[in-house]
Symmetry: C2
DNA sequence: CATCTTTACGATAGCGCTAATGTTGGGCTA
DNA sequence: TAGCCCAACATTAGCGCTATCGTAAAGATG
């Protein structure tokens, strides 16, 4: 077989045209199922393309079409099951729409986030789905300026004026807190991360309101146990559980004996369980424990942990659809803010 | 300020050239720090580019340079901590080398894998890191044909003749099995997935050899408990643990009382623990349990699970470096096959 | 002061593709 | 059979960038 590619690796449209005896344009129309080619030549061309292993050059195609059929996803780390589920679902949705996914990780670092945004801009993406690291929104303004559709998830930046999809943290904390209060808990402690995220602030605020609705006092010194921020976001590690173990142990050793714990992450419950077990405090008899996130191991904890199923798949689905609508120009010009209510999962840790 | 972009969204090199009064060529040289521009004009150009928010068009750049500075990663699902760690590390390494990462998921489906490969080829990637779904290698030959550097991880396809990096499954199963045998176990059961992967075959084979080295018989009907393949790979779920629970319960209810379990995934140990607990079989007093993977929850199981730390980060690091070497043409033409030995982590579940 | 070199830039071409516009010839109608 | 239409192709141009070569002016050299 003659080398149609003139020594180049991949055959081009022109190579195909030379072989078939037609012009590159016709080949392009044939392969992309555009009109203007007879059925027989179309078949011939497709067969020849297959035979030569022709793969269209996306660089050229992207250049002329102005699109790469790629959306970017910026999240802090995919070791967090929430984000891995989110990214998985985005990939699935994008793939079905003929888009591929560029993954950029920020590792909870503002600097890395800035870098990720920069790389996203330089990658010629059609759109971007992002869970921002921080409260400062101006890191994202270049994306807006560049006219690249942006949809935020998980953490809101209202100043940006872009679509936002998230799990409903307020509804979530209300569901979990009310569940233990309904069982008669009078002294509930919220064990959560000590970070200045809007999500966490919303949780604390919602927690406070739930207590007050039930006529219970809220004193931050008594009702809050804050876990120092995690140190590494690179790998799936259990520092969360460790830190929670330490914080819970301290609290218990200071003689505090709440009758219920509500936590901001299932991993905290893992550490909390150990602290309680060591002190022979029984769940649920002596204390109720309510998780957050429905991590895969929670069903197998002893006792099985009541927790909150976060609808991250649904968040991802809606965010991706919205982004694709924006990319394809089929979106209305309204700015959507949706918070999807999570689902309470009651297991033995809050059953009496 | 005059609209230099003629109504287009993003300013181009030409726009910049018009503003500064030079040619696009000079602008390009200035911005990319290539010689042929005086220091003063270079500074001027950069300042102007900054002012106008100029972002180079990657599509055009990729077309002329023939590279997109992007590597693809094909894995089955990122809900598996192994793969999420792998992808994270690849992203980190790639990013440091100035590359971005395109994520493609195959969900353990041969069909989806084929589609992912197809999309990878059409995405104009510079290279590809992949954990194949199946044993059939011909799905990957188009990648080789297209001349795109490919590095496999986790699952080997020797016929392809490409670099391969993995954790050492044989060494791993030897480490875990020998650990329980060293404690005097005489009747060990391997609880593993019932799938035709080379990794699992290697585990079973290594398990058999370990038994025989210790003068113990290996009868598949007694020493093997196989868990049906997982049903969904989309989300982080605990079907693994469920299935293992069922298989272990069956085994125990048939009256089998092995003195040690070695499992192929920490999630199996989670289900196994429950099956044992329900039958008041104590770990480690009545039976030893050895995990696999060092999932973040294992330290907090009761008793803490001995397990195997899989060096997925190291695998990712080496694979990425090798791929980048291949892309940049700095690799020798040898085909590397490396298996990195995992690290045994002894906890209470195998302590007497 | 003629010649050579160097610096700083411009002019041109082309990467591989698609969109827009031409061109041809065969079939149809009146 | 003149006139028209339309399917099936070709021709041309251009997306935004970089590489290559060309050129004018300034400086170096004897």
């Amino acid at each position: 077989m003659a080398d149609v590619t003139n020594g180049r690796r991949q055959p081009t449209l022109q190579d195909l045209a030379n072989v078939v005896g037609l012009t590159a344009n016709t080949i392009s129309r044939a392969l992309n199922d555009r009109p203007g080619v007879s059925a027989t030549t179309r078949a011939l061309i497709k067969a020849e393309a297959e035979r030569l292993g022709y793969v269209p050059n996306v660089h050229a195609r992207s250049l002329v079409l102005g699109s790469r059929k790629t959306i970017g996803v910026i999240v802090t780390n995919i070791s967090n099951p929430f984000f891995s589920d989110l990214v998985s679902e985005v990939e699935l949705q994008a793939q079905e729409a003929g888009y591929t996914v560029l993954l950029l990780l920020s590792y909870e670092s503002a600097e890395r986030e800035r870098d990720a945004i920069d790389r996203a801009l330089r990658s010629g993406l059609d759109g971007l789905i992002a869970a921002p690291v921080q409260e400062r929104f101006n890191a994202w303004t270049p994306v807006i300026k560049a006219g690249i559709p942006l949809v935020l998830v998980s953490r809101e930046l209202p100043e940006l004026g872009v679509d936002f999809y998230s799990t409903d943290n307020e509804a979530g904390i209300r569901l979990t807190t009310d569940a233990v209060l309904a069982l008669g808990a009078k002294d509930v402690v919220l064990l959560d991360e000590d970070m200045p995220f809007s999500t966490i602030r919303l949780r604390i605020e919602g927690f406070r309101r739930s207590l007050e609705r039930h006529g219970l006092p809220f004193d931050p010194r008594h009702q809050l146990a804050l876990v120092p921020p995690a140190r590494s976001f690179r790998v799936s590690q259990s520092w969360h559980a460790d830190d929670a173990y330490r914080v819970a142990s301290d609290l218990l050793d200071r003689g505090r004996r709440p009758d219920a714990f509500v936590v901001g992450d299932d991993y905290y419950a893992l550490g909390l369980y150990r602290a309680l077990r060591e002190r022979r405090i029984r769940v649920p008899d002596d204390v109720l424990v309510m998780g957050w996130g429905n991590h895969p191991f929670t069903r197998f904890m002893e006792p099985p942990l009541s927790t909150l199923l976060l609808p991250f798949q649904e968040v991802a689905r809606r965010a991706t659809r919205r982004l694709l609508d924006r990319i394809q120009g089929t979106a209305d010009d309204q700015i959507i803010t949706e918070r999807i209510v999570p689902e309470l999962i009651i297991r033995a840790s809050t059953t009496r």
